[in-house]
Symmetry: C2
Subunit: 143 residues, 2 copies
């Protein structure tokens, strides 16, 4: 939580009970929760909170670099409190995203000819496929 207070101060963000709970919740969750999932969890502590507050707060957190917005394949944005380099396994069946760490991948950088005028902030390897769980259930073909 120290990181939270420090980052808020650095960016001139006011510290409110709502923001504390939102940040705590996103850190507690092992998955990459959506705004709505965070909202439901925080609502148990602060019953008056709205989804709008949670959504806007998560956007602010992203801008402040406190959490990151990770790629999604479904319909909802997903957030990740792990701002350290790491990589993702993406299941094309259930839409789930799982973290994995593999140091050699952390050193991958796009060559200048590719990056060009692009200001790179993060490079990630995304492995798509079918997770063990979904593979079991999978017997049917296309249609």
């Amino acid at each position: 939580m120290d990181l939270f207070y420090q980052t808020c101060r650095e960016h001139g963000l006011k510290i409110t009970p709502q923001r504390e709970q939102i940040y705590k919740e996103i850190c507690r969750s092992a998955k990459h929760p959506t705004a709505d999932q965070v909202y439901r969890a925080v609502k148990r502590r602060i019953s008056s909170i709205t989804l709008d507050t949670v959504s806007r707060t998560l956007h602010l957190f992203v801008k402040a670099g406190l959490v990151i917005s990770v790629e999604s394949y479904g319909t909802a944005r997903r957030y990740d409190p792990n701002v350290q380099p790491h990589h993702h396994l993406h299941c094309t069946e259930c839409g789930g995203i799982m973290d994995f760490e593999y140091r050699p991948f952390d050193r991958i950088t796009a060559p200048a000819q590719v990056a060009g005028d692009f200001e790179v902030s993060r490079t990630r390897v995304v492995v798509s496929g079918i997770c063990a769980n979904c593979k079991k259930k999978q017997k049917r073909k296309v249609r």
Copy 2:
């Protein structure tokens, strides 16, 4: 378009004017369009078409391997007719996704200790940052 006819036949998908136009449109667009963008474009040719038809058709195309569903950072799914290995630049400001090709990245594979029971179908490098366009406009700090 040959690929389209062939893939449809292989998967027992009927060939309809709607599906032809949807596939043509997604190939024409250099970006990675959303279902809604494809819908608006195709509607100019087939005015009776519905967003529902476009959405379902794109799902079918994904299952048949005719197009792929790429990662997004907003709330809309994005589709890509380029099923060959390639990589993405993702602008965190405008949400845009641009393709890039860099052969050495195509050979990246996750080690067994990571993949485990996961059945890998595709591995992609995603470079996040700020594109040249957005960098220009960017003068303001957080908030």
